[in-house]
């Protein structure tokens, strides 16, 4: 499971060699726990193991530097990739989860609650995909229903009332496409979030931590600052969906082509102005080290909040509006004199 990505095979070999080396050293010293690749080497015998580890980091760095867009999508969906609840557990102190939209139900695909991030009292909103099978099914694999978006809005309005900044963590393949979701107004729920987040009188910081699939992602991502984790993706449609429509079939080859065409990586989104920053992940991506991933994310989020909390509220909303107002790419023809006259 851990090495499910084929391009990680060289890492598996190095990890096996590290484990071997540790066993050899361990037989000389009974105190070393037999945990495999997770023990940090003790300074006095850095030799073998230390070198191997350094080699592993080098290989990981170079592998992850040149990931194809489709491989990035696969990393973003890695089963061990940290999810919102993993980040909240590591980043937030005194987390108080708040449930329910007060209208229909409580959608586990979106988690909301108060939490302290560094010196800031915040409201945290995040998509949750689920870790084990049962949780995944309960969360519809991170595909929220209208009640999820309405819960998010209700809690954000609560935060607005008390002037608490809002931090949202985006991780969804898309909003849930189903009978009940349509009947209860999936489109309306997302649309209202877009409008209300654009005029919410409190700072909002959003980070795509895994998958940023379409309107279901944007529905909690209209923010003053938007970032993506290094190996996440964000676009208007999943590569598979796009391949099925434009290439008429979804397979490894067309998925890869469509992932490339969609410019869905963090770097491309930054270039297009859709996001403001790319947040680094640990060497070899977030699934290798949840603690460090959370530390890096927390540090970026707190920096943004430090800057945003003091900004005058009208100014904040004005800037947020201008941020999204400027997005789009088109040519504007000058009217011909005859037409203008």
């Amino acid at each position: 499971m851990f090495y499910q990505l084929d391009f990680e095979q060289p890492i598996r070999e190095i990890d096996e060699r590290i484990a071997d080396a540790e066993r050899r050293e361990g037989s000389r010293d009974v105190e070393v726990p037999a945990l495999g690749g997770v023990v940090s080497p003790q300074p006095e015998r850095e030799g073998d193991v230390g070198e191997l580890r350094a080699e592993r980091d080098r290989v990981l760095r170079s592998l992850y530097r040149k990931l194809s867009p489709w491989d990035t999508v696969r990393v973003a969906r890695h089963p061990n990739r940290p999810q919102s609840r993993d980040y909240i557990a590591r980043m937030a102190r005194d987390f108080v989860e708040l449930h329910g939209d007060r209208r229909y139900g409580d959608d586990p695909a979106i988690v909301t609650g108060f939490g302290r991030l560094g010196p800031h009292k915040c409201l945290i909103v995040g998509h949750q995909k689920g870790r084990d099978t049962q949780e995944k099914i309960g969360c519809h694999f991170g595909c929220a229903h209208p009640e999820g978006y309405r819960k998010a809005l209700a809690k954000m309005q609560l935060a607005e009332k008390y002037g608490l900044p809002i931090v949202t963590l985006v991780d969804t393949p898309g909003a849930y496409p189903g009978l009940g979701a349509e009947q209860r107004g999936q489109a309306e729920a997302i649309a209202v979030n877009l409008r209300e987040m654009s005029r919410m009188k409190t700072p909002i910081v959003s980070v795509v931590i895994g998958e940023g699939g379409s309107g279901g992602a944007l529905g909690i991502a209209v923010a003053d600052r938007v970032a993506m984790l290094e190996h996440s993706w964000y676009s208007v449609i999943s590569p598979e969906g796009c391949a099925a429509i434009l290439w008429k079939q979804a397979n490894e080859q067309t998925n890869a082509a469509s992932a490339e065409a969609l410019r869905l990586t963090a770097r491309d989104n930054l270039k297009l102005g859709i996001i403001d920053a790319v947040v680094s992940e640990p060497v070899g991506a977030a699934h290798r080290d949840h603690d460090q991933a959370a530390e890096l994310l927390l540090s970026w989020v707190v920096d943004q909040l430090d800057e945003l909390v003091g900004v005058d509220r009208d100014e904040l909303i004005q800037r947020r509006h201008e941020r999204f107002r400027a997005l789009g790419s088109f040519e504007e023809l000058q009217p011909k004199p005859a037409e203008a006259g």
């Binding site: 595909c143 496409p177 209860r184 005029r199 379409s214 209209v222 999943s238 796009c242 869905l264």
Partner: protein, 292 residues
């Protein structure tokens, strides 16, 4: 499918799919009539005289089936004669992503321009509706399925801003397959852009009448189209977030009769009124009078 992924996960990975293909197949079915004088109505299967149908606002005289119409026809139907002043029609699509699937994006745009005689998928301007001044914007289904790229998003946003500035009631007639994949993330951002402009219009106390026509789906529904102060739908229009095909694939069962049609949305509390094309002008004028 990535190793270790369950079938259901793989299926959920495709849920960000919009309904473009459903819509397209649907439309091909409906418009694939011979260019002759007579056509078979998809609503009642009767042979109807094309001219008569067109003279009847493109509605079947036998069963009331509402045919899909272009944005220019829509404007002609809604605006008082010779009152429509088109605006913001100097915007043209570019290819920011250098998008290429089986065809390049510029090639597709060119083909659509030749096919429709339009530069893009939205027609906007000032007009009078039964004597009431208004800002009118109509999406054009004939141009890349009314998909929302940067030009459509910008045209709508300028229309909303113009309505805000001049205190005009705003009427947007929607019909769309959703986002425009060839502009990917930038297309997605048009949802936030138009919704943010509508927040300001709302703050300024403006009236927004959103008219939903067959089909209105995807990112258009999930942004400005569902933000009307009053939402009107034409009879039997397909209106939804996800397309029927995606929903069928996800839930693995057939969809109930009439699901995602205007009347279903009214019953679900999502639209205010289902209004026949013949009454649309009257109803819009009446609503404007109540709010001005």
């Amino acid at each position: 499918m990535t190793r270790g992924q369950t079938k259901q996960e793989a299926r959920m990975a495709t849920v960000a799919t919009r309904s473009w293909t459903d819509v397209k197949t649907d439309q091909q079915k409906k418009t694939s009539v011979p260019e002759g004088l007579w056509l078979r109505c998809p609503g009642c299967s009767a042979m109807i005289y094309k001219r008569q149908m067109e003279a009847n606002l493109h509605v079947c005289p036998e069963c009331g089936h509402h045919y899909r119409i272009s944005a220019t026809t829509r404007v002609e139907q809604l605006a008082d004669d010779n009152t429509f002043v088109r605006m913001f029609d100097n915007l043209r699509a570019v290819d920011p992503l250098k998008f290429r699937d089986l065809k390049s994006y510029p090639e597709r745009i060119k083909a659509e321009q030749v096919k429709t005689g339009q530069h893009e998928g939205c027609v906007a301007g000032e007009a009078f509706v039964k004597g009431r001044p208004a800002m009118l914007a109509c999406l054009d289904l004939t141009f890349m399925m009314g998909s929302m790229g940067s030009v459509v998003g910008e045209t709508l946003t300028r229309a909303i801003e113009h309505a805000t500035e001049h205190k005009l009631p705003l009427i947007i007639v929607s019909c769309s397959g959703g986002a425009r994949m060839q502009e990917a993330g930038l297309s997605l951002m048009q949802m936030a852009k138009t919704s943010s402009a509508l927040a300001r219009f709302d703050d300024a106390g403006g009236l927004f009448i959103s008219v939903l026509t067959d089909p209105t789906t995807g990112g258009v529904t999930a942004s400005f189209a569902m933000l009307g102060d009053v939402i009107i739908a034409e009879p039997k229009a397909l209106i939804g977030f996800a397309g029927p095909r995606v929903i069928r694939q996800t839930i693995r069962q057939e969809l109930p009769e009439g699901f995602q049609r205007s009347e279903f949305l009214r019953e679900s509390g999502m639209v205010d009124r289902v209004v026949s094309r013949h009454d649309l002008r009257d109803e819009i004028a009446r609503i404007i009078d109540y709010t001005s």
